[in-house]
Symmetry: none
Subunit: 249 residues, 2 copies
Amino acid sequence: MLKEERQQTILNEVELHNRILLTDIAESLDVSIDTVRRDVKELDAENKLKRVHGGAISLGFTNKNTRNTNIYALEEKMKIAKKATTLLKDGAVIFIDGGTTCLELVRSIPDNLHLTCFTISLPVAMELSHKPNITVISIGGQVSKESQISIGANAIHNLSEIKVDYSFIGTGYVDAVYGLTEFDWDIVQIKKAVIKASKKTVLLSISEKLNSQHRYKTCDINAINTMITELDPEDSLLGAFKSLDIRIL
Amino acid sequence: MLKEERQQTILNEVELHNRILLTDIAESLDVSIDTVRRDVKELDAENKLKRVHGGAISLGFTNKNTRNTNIYALEEKMKIAKKATTLLKDGAVIFIDGGTTCLELVRSIPDNLHLTCFTISLPVAMELSHKPNITVISIGGQVSKESQISIGANAIHNLSEIKVDYSFIGTGYVDAVYGLTEFDWDIVQIKKAVIKASKKTVLLSISEKLNSQHRYKTCDINAINTMITELDPEDSLLGAFKSLDIRIL
DNA sequence: TTAAAAAATGCAAAAAACAGCAAAATGAAA
DNA sequence: TTTCATTTTGCTGTTTTTTGCATTTTTTAA
């Protein structure tokens, strides 16, 4: 494998999942951790990602304003967001998760819709606050530095006291067999609470995340009522998911 | 095989697979690796592909990354923020209010300080989350669209359950006689809760706000332990406040 | 504070790039 | 066809790059 190719793969992983562990990359690319470390060091020097102890994080999360930053796979995420807005009904009470896909959903919400939106994400809350006709309620808690969402017992407790019509959530990894999985234990806990607080759960995920898994499990795939990807519903990639729930173009 | 023909084959392979290895090409074309190397060198000079160690990659394979650092500085607020940081002690638990002055304070916090920071402000929370060594806890609640802070019963209740060493607050208006006043009823309520949750309250205010008042009262001036402005402590504008509490250069 | 994990550092082996040279191929003119 | 200059190609030895490993230093978390 070429060095440039390897570095491109690392960049893709970082943009896709916002953060990576050197050990994971080394294993999946079958190179030594020293090599990955050197690659990340170079990419950091080129300002392509932010190097942190043990791994790397996407620049999008370290940049101050979320508006003008590059979003990985923006086209696909806009497509997903567009589809998701068709589920929104006037007067609905919904939850919106963190992540760039959900942020794109917020930006796609038509101005004429009256909604009550709960969120654990700081960027989502800020974006929502610029929208007319939307009541925004932020769920407090300890703020995860990587993903800028509220986590911890307080956030989970607050979520336990609400019930929303729809929740729109993202995930780190999704697989038809293993369900939704994450890199981070705390994030799993908060997502579990979100799903519990929802009458219907809608998963927004770009196809690149399909058929991948990680350490910690959020829920089974059948806990999801609707899955939205940028793909055509008949796409073969979605075959494994076809036995369970709704999925929309 | 002609040179042109060989180079075209190489280009096709690059476009098809996005990457090639020199050794593979040399073997499949049955020429020496030096020849392939020379070909790739020429093609790179012609900007038809990107030559890398061990092979070549397609031009459309490179990632672009923009970075904008939009730093704007308000002289007075930076001055106030600088003064306020002298009150910060390592390990302290503090509250930081919303508003641009408090945001400036956050930006002035030295990286070596370990702090636990509560805030009701979304921008402050986001800014804090970029700081190392700081634990950020956002107070949830309904989000005020104008000031992007959490307000309402939930936020006030959450504040009632904490006690911080210092709270750094801003205000709409401040007067030696009338105390701190605001334009907005909800904001007054949340500020009352903040002051109640603080052992010490520090007011950050530019001199422009001195000696002005509005409709709703947050607290008396003596509820404030420290007042910080950009002025020299001996400035005549501060004369009316000289009978009560500390104020720092 | 201590212990574990990660990063930095130095080093050596392998692979690739480079430079120079000579043989082979090419092409033009006699 | 033959001759000769030019280009192309393959080979050799040397230099550079890359990579993994071992050791030391730093960082992190308990």
